[in-house]
Amino acid sequence: MDQIVLKNVTKRFTTKTLGTVTAVDNFNLNVREGECFSFLGPSGCGKTTTLRMIAGFEDLSEGEIYLGGAPVSIRSRNLYVPPEDRGLGMVFQAFAVWPHMNIFDNVAYPLKVKKVPAAEIRERVKKALKHCSLDGMEKVFPSDLSGGQQQRIALARAIVTSPKVMLLDEPLSNLDPKLRETMRFEIKKLQKEFNFTIIFVTHDQSEAMALSDRMLVMDMGVVKQIGTPTELYNNPTDKFVHSFLGQSNFTNVELSGGRVYLKGDRSVPLGMEAPKTGETEMLLATRPNTIEINREEGFRGTVVKRVFLTDFTEYIVALGDQTVRVQAPHRNMFRAGETCYLRFANPIWYSAKKDASDAERERRTLV
């Protein structure tokens, strides 16, 4: 069953400097029950706004949202269920743990609001604290705790009502890297035990890759691609997705007679088949770790710079007036200035024209 459904959700803001901004543009999504789904994108891409619309903190400009099959926001019918009646769990980036309440009162709050009997509250808070490794700390105040412990309080507070849907708004960004990994693991563990559906908002690609069953990448309010982490990494259908997940080279090329040339230089073709798109200029996208560098065959280039990194050696190779980044094992290293040959595997092609997101980005930076 689809636990969370978004249909044509659009959010527009009007600001003094930018005029009308479409923060979220025609967003469609079905998240299945028990799934861990990530929204990934740079800051300002609209991922948090979408999450806040699901939580009920923001109105919709257009569209519909359903939770567990029930409508919660329907713009056309002016239907709007307030956040407190949506039965969600939510964890925020800045923890949002109440400093005037001790741990017990923080975690017990959602139950107190629902007028659960005191004995049952004690029982359930104890269980939630145990799951979040906070047992025995009921009387402690949040200000005496570290960031990681505070985020555990927030987690305990979110799971104490056993919600069906858990919204996580960059919950790990305020923690140090080591702690982040532990918490990632703990969130997965909690999900297994309590079997809730997660929407996880983040700008950290490795976090999204590690946690999610499926994910989406957003930019400038537009969903670029939805899929499993491997699908998105291996087959990005959009150049933004390609550049946001992993490292990318984009090379400007010309197509002619089924062959591919560097832009502005038709003397030697790059050894690959041209895509049949009808366009004469395109972007060739490659990953630095899929390009093979050798001394015998392939497209001729010059090593500009060599950087010895821990797991591989990285070369900046000049191809005409463009450069590409190549990662290779530490064997048979090239020197700067040396001639080399490159062979490209799994090339991905994108249109060289600007798309709507590029135009919007330019508009926002110009203002």
Partner: protein, 575 residues
């Protein structure tokens, strides 16, 4: 790092205190100035209260404080302060929530209305209320009597209750300011997580928003309580004519009646001691309360807080708020302007009664009045600059040099902030009438300046030190590493960074000094009347319309300066 190295660099040696450098000179200067300006007046009050010239005298103190009229004044002071603080807090918190968290329309207009009381001195507000509601003569009373055919005046402002009403409407914006800024700084996700937990709006306000705002509310309450206890202008303008006295008005009354007689001044000092004790108790209680709840609610990514929808209550609340704010904020201004245009006080507001003659009378060939404007401008500029200079130096010494006893320095500098202006003035009279090294400043403009510097130093200190604490040590270190001397680092890095704070802190002194009455009313001489004193004198001598005209002039000067500050400090929030 070991300190046993032989240091060749003379500059580093200076940092170890081995040589007498710039920092040490400034430290000594700070101690000297604060001792003269702050400690001396306070010591003189205590000394004169309990020393009659030959022996320790406790009898006079007892006799003065148990005199019936003085007991009544004490009782009045406390009643007025406590009741008006309670109501000012309730109204201030309500408006703060309304503007900070609800979706009420016309917030811009209301915020603007809230800024007005900060520009009008309390004695002017009280004078306006007196013109509206004073017995049968008050304009609003007369209007109501004629409309409803009443035999007697419906309101009487010249009562304890009247004073309380004026103080409530004058002081609630102070609470509002404190609380609304706390609400704006509060991380909205604190409230949002309560909503997600299933709590309704009102429950969230009760269990999360209000408890988290308590530190701000109590600091606003403290501010109002102390200002109200020490307020002179409001009880003087509406109470004194009906023999309703508070401690500050009683003290001034005693000094005036003494006419230079030392015994009379000693009685005033005894009451000053009582006033200081009352204020100290208030301070002590509030410190205790404030300590109980100190949380850091300023964190998280800044995001617009979700505004709470008032729905059906929206427009009724808007109308009530606008009517209330207009009445308490704009009506006093309007009445002063109208009265300033009348041919004679008491005439109805009709076109044929209006004239500009009052303005020519006070501004042309009226030396007493034009002198007072000059004096106030001089006092505003001079004490502003001196306080600015001292404030920068003090905050640098306290937060960057950090000598032994920097805590004492800070306490000394902010002490006059909680001392009532009346008490500070008496201290200055005692200290600068030849008692110390035979220096006599009494009856000259300089004694007022010394008193202003003592009173307003804490304003510049607070603003400059807040800004200075944000200038990280590494910034100055970086400049030293680039080869600049200590002096050059100060001039090229530190001072430019705190310049915005310096400019606004100058006006934080200039503006209150311009509209000051409490201190100058005790210190002015024949040639050193201030604007406030001139207005009060005109009114006391029955020139109501001219007093109103001069008030309008004062308000215009203050508003223009305020506009200048806003213009200079725009877009320059913090370093």
């Amino acid at each position: 790092m070991s300190m046993s190295f032989t240091r060749k660099n003379s500059d580093l040696a200076r940092m170890d205190g081995k040589k007498f450098g710039l920092d040490q000179i400034m430290t000594v200067l700070c101690f000297l100035i604060l001792t003269t300006v702050v400690i001396l007046p306070v010591v003189m009050i205590i000394y004169n209260t309990f020393w009659d010239g030959t022996k320790i005298d406790l009898e006079m103190f007892g006799r003065v404080i148990f005199r019936e009229e003085n007991l009544t004044a004490m009782k009045n002071t406390v009643i007025i302060a406590v009741i008006s603080t309670i109501f000012a807090t309730i109204i201030g918190v309500f408006f703060a929530w309304l503007l900070g968290r609800s979706d009420i329309p016309m917030k811009g207009l209301m915020r603007w209305l809230f800024s007005i009381p900060f520009m009008i001195p309390p004695f002017l507000a009280a004078m306006a209320w007196d013109m509206m509601f004073s017995g049968r003569g008050g304009y609003v009373n007369r209007f109501l009597m004629s409309i409803f055919n009443l035999k007697s005046a419906p309101f009487n402002i010249n009562t304890l209750a009247g004073i309380i009403v004026i103080e409530v409407v004058y002081y609630f914006p102070f609470v509002y300011m404190q609380v609304v800024s706390a609400l704006e700084r509060m991380d909205p996700t604190l409230e949002e997580s309560a909503r997600i937990a299933g709590a309704k709006q009102w429950y969230v306000i009760r269990t999360v928003t209000l408890p988290l705002t308590i530190p701000a509310i109590s600091s606003g309450t403290l501010l109002v309580l102390i200002t109200s206890l020490s307020n002179y202008g409001i009880p003087r303008m509406v109470g004194s004519s009906k023999n309703i006295f508070t401690l500050p008005t009683k003290i001034v009354d005693l000094v005036n009646r003494a006419g230079g007689d030392f015994q009379g001044i000693r009685e005033a000092t005894a009451l000053s001691v009582v006033l200081v004790i009352v204020v100290s108790i208030a301070l002590f209680v509030q410190r205790k309360l404030l300590k109980a709840g100190r949380y850091d609610i300023i964190k998280g990514k800044s995001m617009r807080p979700t505004l709470i929808k008032l729905r059906a209550a929206k427009y009724p609340l808007l109308i009530v708020s606008l009517v209330f704010l207009t009445l308490v904020v704009l009506a006093p201004l309007v009445i002063i302007v109208l009265v300033s245009l009348l041919r004679a006080y008491g005439l109805p507001f009709a076109w044929e009664n209006f004239t500009l003659a009052n303005y020519t009378k006070i501004l042309v060939n009226n030396k007493a009045v034009t002198d007072s404007i000059q004096n106030s401008l001089f006092l505003g500029f001079s004490s502003g600059f001196v306080c600015l200079f001292l404030g920068v130096m003090l905050s640098y010494v306290i937060y960057k040099v950090k000598p032994k006893g920097s805590g004492i320095l800070e306490t000394l500098a902010v002490l006059p902030y909680s001392l009532p202006g009346t008490v500070m003035a008496i201290g200055c009279i005692l200290a600068w009438s030849g008692a110390v090294f035979g220096i006599t400043l009494y009856n000259s403009i300089w004694i007022i300046m010394v008193a202003y510097i003592a009173r307003y130093l804490s304003y510049t200190l607070k603003s400059c030190s807040a800004s200075l604490q944000q200038v990280h040590v590494s910034l100055e270190d970086a400049s030293r590493a680039c080869g600049a001397t200590h002096m050059e680092s100060l001039a090229d890095v530190t001072l430019p960074l705190i310049k915005p704070a310096m400019i606004s802190s100058f006006f934080m002194v200039f503006l209150p000094a311009m509209r000051e009455l409490t201190t100058s009313v005790l210190l002015y001489g024949p040639n050193s009347r201030t604007l406030g004193v001139a207005i009060q004198n005109l009114r006391d001598n029955g020139y109501m319309t001219q007093a109103a005209a001069l008030s309008v002039v004062a308000i215009i000067i203050i508003m223009v300066c305020n506009g200048v500050v806003k213009f200079i400090t725009r877009d320059r929030k913090g370093v």
